[in-house]
């Protein structure tokens, strides 16, 4: 056997996987022992037996053994000779209430420290598990946070002894709520015999693992209670499912039936792949076959994928991006580079990659570049990444695999900070506003980031591709929302990830945030239904981001089951609170900090209030800065102060850009011509009701759809009834006012009908807030200065003047909506029935006859 290539090297974490040297290291493991202790109390087999076992384990195709005791040095040497890594469980009495007793805690710390010291940075050691399966009732007894803290402490003890060693703790479903922060990867022992349940649970474990690799620490089946054939199928299926779900490795329990535990030889369980005397069972050969294929089990199909990279001045990171795309582990793909008018060396770099189809165009923005890529794509699937990303070699394998397996029309995945990126980039990663994904469940997404997403080309064509108005950002959000509106499901692949180089200077980061702010304003105009009246985006799912706001008003709840006996003890986490975000928002500073500070110059008594408001905002930033998770190797003394600064600046920069675009971008170019054309001479008071009479059964839904389409086309902000409203359409196109249109149809004789439309105008929420904020501020000022300036009361007269302006806006909006309705009536061949100027309370017989005649004529 030739293991020289990786000899002497240690395994390291690489995104969601492990790497040994330059190659990925997928764990194919078996548990080994413990065996009956010898005269010296050693729970390992003899050296000769171990050598024979290792040879057989290599024949199995495994590359790792998991031991439940700290192995002697010769064992590690032997493992190294056979190219086997050892996953060491450090045993200490975790089944006792260890947190109640300082001596037991010290004992645990000492045991971990001695275990790491004993292994002495041996290259055969894969990782240490500082504790295995803490009983759930003990966790509940001692407290979840305290146990998590102690696990982290044990990891710190191990890292202090050997900073490069990998550490984890072996968890299992009854304590899946435990989330220590310092472990390098997530390890779970799972015994679930039902395939679909196991599949779903793996997705859940991947959600828990987040950006860390997931390892199945134990799984297996008893040969005594189940037929060997069943066990073989089961193990094959579980290894395959683990691989398909992107687990970084799996460890079968166990190598042999020879198992000594709790002071006795276990005879009534036979989980082994071999018998006591190491005779291979049928399951041995099944696992051998599965391990030979792992981790890349063939996909159900391999449709051609077109990878589109849109680049604008991305020359700095483009080589890494294109280089990574050269080595993708996928049989049929092409790479299309769309150079969006770059002024740097992008064209020269592109020439170095002849296999990449390069399309040059003038700078027209991100969406247009992506649309050009889609048009040029020959693949059935189009995947997108950015020039500041480099893809993991299995990116497409997992992205497409999950897409096909679960019938998603679109797919996205993680984007991680590359290990070689700068400490400033790490700070940017931990700051707000980074690319995030929003998950509805463990597999279904509501939004996937633009730097890692894939779609069926057909569905992109069906929705018309990316909207060209999004030149810098926001295109991915828009596409996701439009896809979901058209009934498509978007999936999230936990293992199809890319490395994303973050902005490496504060200036570049703030510029990026300004771009996001502009995009947000455009999104709010295009999809007002996804934004709250205060301007924040509304997501149904949970946002997953490296950035932590640090606050949560709600309390985490754990389902422990009766008497803490639940098999799956799930953690329900509350949504992060919006409070801190509000306290550092631009709106907070404009509406509170700034006015109170200005007033404090006039009235020094307000200085404490102004200071408090400022401190609240800074406090929110400080908490977020302290809570931010930074890669230990990227931490510098200035990292956290910089995060605090960015946390304070980001909402202001982004908010300014958002407001600037929102006010500049309000488009009402066609109001006046339409009003002039349709309602000339009608005076200022526009009738708010209009009745459209149809000869045939024209549906009001059709009218509303046509109206909405027309309004959107003309650039209005138009949202439809969500099912909870009293209106059909809401038009927020006015600067100060908005309009709501409500319709009703009245069936007349002969299948004819009236469609009555009512236009209701009102102030926009922002207008109301500003107006009343101004009114309150004025009253406040007047009450303070009226003593010396009695005429200051006259300031209040400004308010009705403002109301006049708002009224004018309402009138204009009503006139425009009425004009639209009239124009639509003409298009749809409807007759406009003008309302009667006055309705007599008691019509005379003559008038009644006349009215009746009119009705008959209409009918």
């Amino acid at each position: 056997m030739n293991y020289s290539e990786s000899a002497g090297q240690r395994v390291r974490v690489d995104g969601k996987f492990f790497r040994l040297g330059r190659k990925k290291f997928h764990l194919k493991g078996v548990t080994y022992g413990p065996f009956a202790p010898d005269a010296e109390g050693c729970t390992f087999a003899s050296r000769e037996q171990t050598a024979r076992d290792f040879q057989q384990i290599r024949q199995l195709g495994a590359n790792l053994v998991r031991t439940y005791y700290v192995p002697p040095r010769w064992f590690l040497d032997l493992a190294e000779d056979h190219g086997i890594k050892v996953f060491v469980d450090v045993p200490w009495p975790k089944h006792l209430c260890f947190l109640d007793d300082a001596l037991r805690r010290d004992d645990a710390r000492r045991t971990v420290d001695e275990a790491v010291a004993r292994c002495g940075k041996h290259p055969a050691v894969f990782a240490f598990s500082v504790v295995n399966e803490i009983p759930p009732d003990i966790v509940r007894w001692s407290g979840v946070a305290a146990v998590e803290k102690f696990i982290d402490e044990l990891v710190d003890v191990a890292k202090k002894r050997d900073p490069d060693c990998l550490c984890t703790f072996a968890c299992f479903p009854p304590t899946e709520f435990l989330r220590p922060r310092n472990t390098d990867f997530v390890c779970f022992n799972v015994y679930l015999h039902h395939g679909p349940t196991f599949d779903a649970y793996l997705a859940r474990l991947q959600s828990i693992a987040g950006s860390r690799p997931l390892v199945l620490g134990e799984f297996g089946m008893d040969s005594i209670r189940h037929a060997e054939a069943e066990k073989s199928d089961f193990l094959t299926q579980q290894i395959e499912l683990a691989c398909r779900n992107g687990a970084a490795g799996s460890v079968v329990f166990s190598y042999t039936d020879d198992w000594y535990r709790g002071g006795m030889q276990i005879e009534d369980w036979a989980f082994g792949l071999t018998t006591h005397d190491r005779q291979p069972k049928a399951s041995f050969f099944a696992v051998q076959k599965a391990y030979a294929q792992a981790p890349h089990f063939p996909l159900v199909a391999t449709p051609k994928v077109s990878v589109v990279v849109a680049s604008y001045n991305g020359g700095k990171t483009l080589p890494a991006c294109l280089e990574s795309l050269r080595h993708l582990n996928y049989p049929d793909y092409e790479v299309i580079l769309v150079d969006d008018g770059s002024k740097d060396n992008t064209p020269e770099i592109a020439k170095r990659y002849p296999e990449v189809r390069t399309i040059q165009q003038d700078n027209m923005g991100l969406s247009v570049a992506r649309n050009v890529g889609i048009a040029a794509a020959q693949g059935e699937i189009v995947a997108f990444t950015d020039s500041d990303c480099r893809a993991d070699e299995d990116w497409l394998h997992y992205l497409v695999g999950d897409m096909l397996r679960y019938n998603f029309m679109a797919m996205g995945g993680h984007n991680f900070l590359p290990p070689e990126d700068s400490p400033v980039a790490a700070v940017v990663m931990a700051s707000p506003g980074g690319p995030a994904h929003v998950l509805l469940s463990d597999r279904d997404a509501e939004h996937v980031p633009g730097c890692n997403m894939a779609f069926y080309k057909k569905v992109l064509d069906d929705i018309g591709g990316f909207d060209p108005i999004f030149r810098k950002a926001g295109d991915d959000v828009d596409v996701c929302w439009r896809l979901m509106e058209s009934g498509c499901r978007i999936g999230f692949s936990h293992s199809g990830f890319v490395w994303h180089y973050r902005r490496s200077t504060v200036k570049a980061y703030l510029k990026q945030q300004a771009g996001y702010g502009e995009a947000e304003a455009m999104l709010a105009r295009k999809h007002p239904e996804y934004f709250s009246p205060l301007g924040g985006s509304i997501w149904r799912g949970r946002i997953y981001s490296e950035y932590q706001s640090g606050f949560s008003l709600g309390r985490s709840v754990i389902y422990h089951g009766i008497f803490a006996s639940g098999f799956f003890q799930k953690l329900y986490q509350p949504q992060p609170s919006l409070g801190p975000a509000l306290c550092s928002s631009l709106e907070y500073h404009i509406c509170l900090t700034l006015p109170v500070t200005v007033l404090a110059f006039l009235f020094p008594a307000l200085w404490p209030a102004a200071t408090l408001l400022f401190l609240v905002s800074i406090g929110a930033s400080v908490v977020a800065g302290l809570k931010a998770e930074l890669p230990p190797r990227k931490q510098r003394w200035w990292s956290r102060p910089l995060i605090i600064l960015l946390h304070s600046l980001q909402p202001i920069e982004r908010g300014l850009a958002r407001f600037k675009n929102r006010f500049q971008g309000v488009r009402r170019p066609i109001i006046q011509p339409i009003i002039d054309l349709q309602t000339k001479g009608k005076g200022r008071q526009i009738p708010r009701e209009i009745t459209l009479w149809s000869r045939g059964p024209v549906e009001r839904y059709h009218l509303l759809e046509t109206m909405q389409r027309r309004l959107l086309k003309d650039g209005w902000l138009c949202s439809e009834d969500s099912g909870w409203s009293d209106f059909d359409l809401e038009i927020s196109g006015g600067r100060l006012a908005k309009a709501q249109i409500v319709t009703v149809h009245e069936d007349l004789e002969m299948g004819r009908r009236n469609i009555r439309c009512r236009i209701h105008t009102m102030w926009r929420l922002g207008t109301g807030i500003l107006f009343w904020a101004l009114a309150v501020t004025m009253v406040l000022i007047i009450s303070l200065v009226a003593h010396s300036l009695p005429w200051s009361w006259m300031l209040l007269l400004v308010l009705p003047v403002l109301m006049l302006f708002i009224e004018h806006d309402e009138q204009m909006l009503a006139a425009a909506m009425r004009a639209y309705l009239r124009e639509l009536a003409r298009e749809l061949d409807l007759i406009i029935v003008e309302p009667e100027p006055k309705k007599p309370t008691e019509p005379t017989a003559k008038e009644a006859a006349a009215l009746s005649a009119t009705g008959q004529n209409q009918g």
Binding site: H787, W793, L796, L797, L799
Partner: protein, 124 residues
Amino acid sequence: MTFMRRFRIWLAFGVLLVFCSVMVVRQFEENQSRHVELREAFILLEAKGYRPQAQKLFQQLVRELESLPDTALLDDFDRTLALIDPAGPEQDNLIWRYHWTVSNEMDQRSQGALGRALKMAEDL
């Protein structure tokens, strides 16, 4: 109702105008009565020999002097004239000092009127 709805802004303007006017007048009256109250308190304290307290109110009255309307100034002048002998120097008497301060303020204000009167005479 239609009328109210149609002209609601003008109605609001009218209502606010009335409200503001009332508040302005009320504020002037309140200021005036507060000043009278202050002045009388000052006179009482000075008369009864509460020197430090009277001194405090004196300072306040002097501070307010500039913003007092002419009528209030004249009222103060008349009120203090009845209590002191303006001819005899009574530097220790705060009421006497206040009287002369008021008198000087009136002189100062009349300078503007004098200037305008002279200009009028020149123009004719």
